[in-house]
Symmetry: C2
Subunit: 163 residues, 2 copies
């Protein structure tokens, strides 16, 4: 990577212009194992229902469930891979982040992305800002996570939007 200039990467890669408002994308699938749930939890969310198959049965979750922040991290991986913008996408803010159903061992997650708004950045020429609705579903089409977010990414054209 370090031998290819950012300008070259930008020219070759998908960029802001490839994601007009209304664009819908679906990620590939990501399998969730009990080991992955417990590994993430040991480091970042060491609570009974994320750590211990047996004890988790007696909690509000009624069984081992992934940390919401693990689901968020997996969803980010699927988002990054699906958007495929080599210049990078930086999240600016997230709202309405919800985890309406638990993620269980054996689940297979995918992310559905909708670009709800797209505009050139006023303060950073050469960049665009997109508003995204991100919904993560399991193999039974149940929503396990949803949120709205704003993100900034490189544009091919430097367009000064009207002030």
């Amino acid at each position: 990577m370090a031998t290819v200039s950012v300008a070259t990467i930008r020219a070759m890669s998908r960029a802001f212009e490839d994601f007009p408002a209304g664009t819908r994308l679906v990620s590939s699938k990501y399998p969730i194992t009990a080991a992955a749930i417990m590994n993430f939890a040991r480091e970042f969310d060491p609570q009974l229902f994320h750590l211990d198959l047996k004890a988790a049965g007696k909690t509000l979750f009624g069984g081992l469930a992934a940390s919401g922040w693990h689901t968020a991290a997996v969803s980010m991986r699927l988002f990054v891979d699906t958007m495929d913008v080599a210049g990078g996408i930086i999240g600016m803010g997230v709202d309405e982040l919800k985890w309406p159903n638990a993620v269980r061992p054996g689940d297979e997650l995918r992310v559905e992305i909708e670009i709800v708004e797209a505009r050139h950045s006023k303060s950073r020429p050469g960049y665009g800002i997109i508003r995204i609705r991100n919904v993560t579903k399991n193999q039974r089409d149940e929503v396990v996570q949803s949120f709205m977010a704003s993100a900034i990414l490189p544009a091919r054209q430097e367009v000064k939007p009207p002030a």
Copy 2:
């Protein structure tokens, strides 16, 4: 853990009643290394500015920076350790999640927690719902993450709130 009943854990542990509205808590400190930033990114957010010390310098971040979702995961760890509720705290929703400053290698993070609201659950007797403001700061007191969240946790008393 599996040999101690959840009822016993609940009786011994901090619970809903220990976190009235107005409670403020500060976590211990969590050091962020370049290796941790890159490890998290390889698995969950494989983008140039989270992966490659040299190439990151030419991006919008101007140097290696942690994924926002890594900061979120570390903040959850600090939150869980600080709240210290053995029965567990489950996040229900997050709003206004922002990352106003980048997290860099060598940073030391802490979380400041404010309980802004606390009420017994209507639908689940024996549980309470708290509304939290969570702010993560670095060693220079700069805010690197903030959000509002609702979470459910075990209560000692089963109180039916007025309908």
